[in-house]
């Protein structure tokens, strides 16, 4: 007991250096946990770009390609799904709902997604997050458009603004504009931290309507163009769509249905399980994950090194103190207990402080980071990885006390009896 009392009194006597040591430990723990948390958030944000969807169906292509152009607006679709095939699959009894995606047009570098009401109702990301509105309502009428949060931020559109869609491009400026048929902003989505933020959403009607007077893939001449007022929902005939998400009534059906779609008679289709492909893709991007891992590892090493050197130097200053204790009758084991207890205490307080700092600051700054960077801090606060990091830090900190302890018990008595100042 006397040893613990001594350790605590001694630490209090060296308030400044103790506090600095604790602080440096806390900072490295803070950094370590932050990097880890951000890494996990990035991974989850990516792999959970779309959830609660059993299958993603598109024209036959590679699974990666399908997910890249459907979810991330990278690359382009090589082929479409005919409206008839879509209807046939959609009407299968085992299917709960589908979300159709018709892609291909864009607006000032952002892509246009033509979809239907199911998108607003059933689309989920990050396991159970719904598509929500900052303002306005879904784009269900022909000339309605809903914009993602990034689009709103970049282009500063307000509700009621008119938007002209560019034909055939989803990146950069278009050459051919659908300027005879402007859309009206009816809704602005909340930020999601996924690719959803970077798109504009119109109805399938809208997509058909802007192309209704086109003939064999070319824009109509002025005299043949139909004015928007003359187009009504009733006389729109749906054409092919790019891809669609589907949800089965019972998960057990998924694999059977996937096989069935992949062997679809009428046209070559591909059905993939998005979660699986997204995880594969993230692993494919393992360079990023590795980079983050290396950073967090380096942070940990630097943090531990500074912590150990801090504890070492503070203990070195106290050689004299150790000698006195030794000469009064403290044995080497008692000196060791004293020093290890001290370093453990410092490390423990530092670790607790660092962890508290990390959780509370992430908690406080969460909203700000989401709004400012569109980066979502998601997932568990503490996983096994975090706990094991903290444990390693704690063990290293405690062991750091052993080094001077061994030296002190070897030298201290001789010092105590012979040091002349």
């Amino acid at each position: 007991m006397i040893l613990f009392k001594l350790a605590i009194k001694s630490l209090r006597n060296r308030k400044v250096s103790s506090v600095l040591t604790i602080f440096s430990i806390a900072i490295s723990v803070f950094l370590l946990l932050s990097v880890e948390r951000i890494k996990r958030a990035a991974e989850e944000g990516f792999t959970h770009s779309v959830s609660q969807v059993d299958l993603l169906v598109g024209a036959r292509t590679g699974p990666l390609n399908l997910i890249l152009y459907t979810v991330f607006n990278m690359g382009s679709a090589s082929n479409n799904i005919s409206w008839e095939s879509y209807q046939e699959i959609k009407s299968k009894p085992e299917i709960a709902w589908t979300i159709p995606y018709s892609l291909g047009d864009g607006h000032k570098g952002f892509r246009i997604v033509a979809t239907d009401e199911n998108f607003y109702e059933h689309y989920r990301y990050r396991s159970d997050k719904k598509v929500e509105f900052q303002q306005g309502v879904p784009a269900l009428d022909i000339w309605d458009v809903v914009i993602g949060s990034e689009v709103e931020k970049k282009l500063n559109y307000k509700l009621g603004d008119k938007i002209v869609i560019a034909h055939g491009v989803t990146k950069g400026d278009g050459i051919q504009m659908h300027d005879d048929k402007p859309f009206k902003v009816t809704g602005i989505l909340k930020p999601t931290g996924t690719a959803l933020d970077q798109s504009l959403y119109i109805s399938l009607y809208g997509m058909e309507a802007i192309h209704i007077d086109w003939q064999s893939g070319a824009a109509p001449t002025k005299d043949k163009a139909l004015s928007p007022e003359k187009i009504a929902k009733e006389n729109i005939k749906f054409g092919p769509i790019t891809s669609f998400f589907l949800r089965t009534k019972s998960r057990i059906e998924t694999l059977r249905l996937q096989r069935e779609i992949n062997n679809f008679e009428a046209e070559p289709l591909l059905a993939i399980i998005p979660g699986v492909t997204l995880s594969e893709l993230w692993r494919g991007l393992s360079q990023i994950a590795m980079g983050l891992k290396v950073i967090s590892l380096m942070v940990m090493i630097v943090g531990l090194a500074s912590m150990v050197s801090n504890i070492l130097s503070s203990l070195n200053e106290r050689r004299r103190e150790m000698s006195i204790l030794r000469s009064i009758g403290a044995g080497p084991s008692q000196i060791t207990v004293l020093l290890v207890f001290e370093s453990t205490l410092l490390t423990f307080v530092g670790v607790v402080l660092g962890a508290t700092l990390q959780t509370s600051s992430f908690f406080l700054l969460k909203k700000w980071i989401e709004n400012q960077f569109g980066f979502f801090i998601v997932g568990e606060v503490f996983t096994f990885t975090e706990w094991s990091y903290l444990l390693v830090v704690l063990i290293c900190g405690s062991l750091a006390g052993l080094i001077p302890a061994i030296r002190a018990s070897r030298l201290a008595l001789k010092d105590g009896l012979t040091i002349r100042v």
Binding site: K9, S10, N13, I328, G329, A330, K414, L417
Partner: protein, 237 residues
């Protein structure tokens, strides 16, 4: 006898020459002995041998009836904590403890000393010692606020608490001025007399020897330093 040395021989592993070669030296119970010698004659090595920091190559050291060289390192530590008190030249005290805490510290580190002074008696005993050493009103003070002389008296109180059989004092007065030296030694003797504690006082300052029961010159009992003495004498004549 509280301390008995026979045929003590020691040399550093790196050298061939003996540093200590002491055929016989002893200290009776309650006896106060002044051990002097010029610097470099092996005083420190001798004290380290007695303390068990250095293990002699040959010979026997018996403290309070126990053969020091037959004990293991840990046993020697415990034995030293239980039976011996130390006073050093300076910087003796733990800076962040109060006077009271410094003095009573050995009681927490030695079972034998604790037996002599129980926790209930601790304060009483410390007060008694302090009144003898002129530290009465300083008990709760931080040791860093004390003068060097006061600090040295606190160190003395710490050395005698728990009634060890023997105290080693290594130049404890060298940071004090002459008047204070005598006063300090007399106070130390006072408390030692009460508890029948033997004192081995090591110093190069011969003027203090009149205060002791007996004075011993280390070069005289240490045959290993004869050569130096002869050299010294040759150079002075």
């Amino acid at each position: 006898m509280i301390l008995e040395i026979k045929n003590l021989k020691f040399k550093y592993p790196s050298s061939l020459r003996l540093v200590l070669d002491i055929p016989q030296f002893s200290l009776a119970k309650g006896e106060k002995v002044f051990l002097y010698g010029p610097s470099g004659c092996g005083k420190t090595t001798f004290l380290e041998t007695l303390a068990g920091v250095i293990v002699p190559d040959e010979g026997e050291i018996e403290v309070a009836g126990t053969q020091m060289n037959r004990l293991s390192v840990t046993e020697r530590d415990t034995f030293r904590a239980n039976h011996v008190g130390y006073i050093f030249q300076s910087f003796n005290l733990i800076p962040y403890l109060s006077v009271l805490e410094n003095i009573t510290l050995p009681l927490y580190l030695s079972s034998q000393k604790r037996k002599q002074v129980s926790q209930a008696e601790e304060l009483e005993e410390t007060k008694k010692l302090c009144s003898k050493l002129g530290l009465t009103y300083l008990l709760e003070k931080k040791v860093t606020e004390l003068s060097v002389g006061q600090q040295q008296r606190v160190a003395a109180a710490r050395a005698v608490i728990g009634r060890p059989e023997l105290i080693f004092a290594d130049e404890p007065t060298s940071s004090l001025d002459y008047d204070h030296r005598e006063k300090f030694i007399n106070l130390l003797f006072d408390v030692c007399k009460q508890y029948q504690i033997s004192v081995l006082f090591v110093s190069h300052d011969k003027t203090l020897q009149k205060l002791f029961d007996r004075a011993v010159s280390l070069p005289e009992i240490n045959k290993a330093s004869m050569m130096f003495q002869e050299l010294d004498e040759a150079s002075t004549t």
